[in-house]
């Protein structure tokens, strides 16, 4: 008889406890993001597409050497002021494994991985990018935060 009432009281209290939990969540802001209009801010160490600060590059070829898949291709020429000038900085996204070694090895912090994550495309040709072009990632740039 005593356990009968004990059970009822304990049960009722636990029900109230549960309802308070859901009430708390009811008044909290939802965690859902309205994806195409609202976008998640990528973490600081997120590894997106390989990108380049042109002016910082010292043309040391270290990124090309360390790249495990060989997706970077650089060539340079001697400028009129006897200084090296970048001629080609090609990036083959098809091969890239987003390991970030190029970013780590770059002594001038010229090569970096940006925050673009919506990288699906309709044509394969667009996966071969010339990093020297100023608006090479224009198609993707609406995604995420750039550097």
């Amino acid at each position: 008889m005593i356990t009968f009432f004990k059970d009822i009281i304990r049960g009722a209290l636990s029900l109230i406890k549960g309802m308070l939990v859901t009430l708390k969540y009811f008044f909290q802001a939802p965690t859902t993001l309205q994806y195409p209009t609202q976008k998640l801010k990528m973490a600081q160490r997120f590894r997106g597409l390989v990108d380049l600060h042109k002016e910082k590059c010292i043309i040391c070829y270290q990124c090309v050497k360390i790249c495990p898949t060989g997706c970077l291709a650089i060539s340079h020429k001697q400028g009129e002021d006897k200084k090296k000038q970048l001629e080609i900085f090609n990036y083959n996204m098809e091969l890239c494994c987003f390991c970030g070694l190029c970013e780590q090895v770059c002594p001038a912090s010229a090569v970096y991985l940006n925050k673009i994550y919506e990288i699906a495309l309709y044509s394969r040709e667009k996966l071969h990018v010339d990093l020297l072009e100023p608006d090479k990632y224009a198609e993707w740039n609406n995604a995420g935060d750039n550097h």
Binding site: L15, G18, F26, P30, T32, Q34
Partner: protein
């Protein structure tokens, strides 16, 4: 019985008004439930159709209207066809005695509350027919469970309502509200207990979680309405939400002072109270897990029944004294 032209027009108009209110209310409640459940689960719910998805239910209704009406082979045709109507019509009929406002009631029967209880029990038949007619084991199990559940919970439900009737001495909905002029019945300790019993039993009566074993998704697909599609499914849906409105309206009438309240017009007070009760029921639904079949029966017969009986006896003693 002869009916004059004026009376006939009045009857048709009230019927149209009630039907309009029912469909609008059901659509609002479906949207409301989706929003409440979403926010309880840290989601947003419908957001795309209209402001915060407020037109979502209309879009869904249009979709359901356009859907193909499929009948399973081997279904009991007549029973299968009649079932959605048997489930919906009682829900609509119960609106006849719901007191929306001071003078806003279709017909203030002198046996109003008895009428509601009697009529709303018929919708069980619709569920049973749907379960039997579908020729589907899940539907049949859902229908059987529903009948067992509703028969069990009807008993404490009626016992809790009787305590209110003992206080008022009348079965008329308007008289019950007038008896609460000075103090709502929920503030009497014995009637507050009756209110709790009533709300629990009413939740079970309309097959809502945590008592939704007749349509337990994880066991029975969708229970009695597994085989229904298109508008027939929509009718079960409307019946479900209309019943939800009815039980809340009865709760408000019996325990929360009905349409009585200061300043605002009476029907607004009534709707505010009803939707508050509905919110609590939704809150309960999205908080608790479904109970097992045997737990459900044990709860009705071993917990609610004795408590309701003792409450009845105590109310009798209080009134005699």
């Amino acid at each position: 019985m002869t009916v004059s032209a004026q009376e006939a027009i009045f009857m048709i108009m009230t019927a149209a008004a009630v039907l309009g209110f029912i469909s609008a209310s059901a659509m609002f409640l479906i949207w409301f439930e989706r929003k409440v459940s979403a926010h309880i689960q840290s989601r947003l719910g419908p957001m795309r159709v209209g402001w915060h998805g407020c037109l979502q239910s209309i879009a869904d209704a249009v979709k359901l209207l356009l859907k193909e009406d499929i009948m399973p082979s081997g279904a009991d045709k007549v029973v299968w066809w009649l079932a959605p109507f048997m489930a919906t019509v009682p829900a609509v009929m119960a609106f006849a005695v719901v007191p929306f406002g001071r003078n806003l009631i279709v017909k203030d029967l002198n046996v109003g509350i008895l009428y509601i209880i009697a009529v709303s029990s018929i919708s069980t038949l619709g569920i049973m027919m749907a379960g039997w007619g579908s020729n589907n084991k899940y539907s049949l199990l859902g229908g059987m469970r529903s009948v067992a559940q509703i028969i069990s919970y009807e008993v404490p439900l009626l016992l809790s309502i009787i305590t209110v009737i003992m206080h008022t001495g009348s079965l008329s909905m308007q008289k019950i509200i007038q008896a609460q002029q000075h103090l709502w019945f929920i503030f009497y300790p014995n009637l507050a207990l009756s209110f709790l019993i009533y709300i629990i039993c009413a939740t079970a009566e309309v097959n809502r979680a945590p008592f939704d074993i007749p349509e337990a998704e994880s066991e029975l697909v969708a229970g009695f309405h597994t085989e229904y599609s298109g508008m027939k499914f929509a009718m079960f849906f409307v019946a479900e939400y209309t019943n939800l409105f009815i039980i809340s309206a009865v709760a408000v009438t019996l325990f929360l002072g009905g349409w009585q309240g200061p300043l605002l017009p009476s029907f607004i007070w009534f709707l505010i109270k009803v939707y508050a009760v509905i919110f609590v029921l939704m809150w309960v639904r999205w908080t608790f897990p479904r109970v097992r079949s045997d737990q459900l029966m044990a709860f009705a017969w071993k917990r609610l029944m004795p408590i309701a009986l003792v409450n009845l006896a105590v109310t009798g003693l209080v009134l005699i004294r």
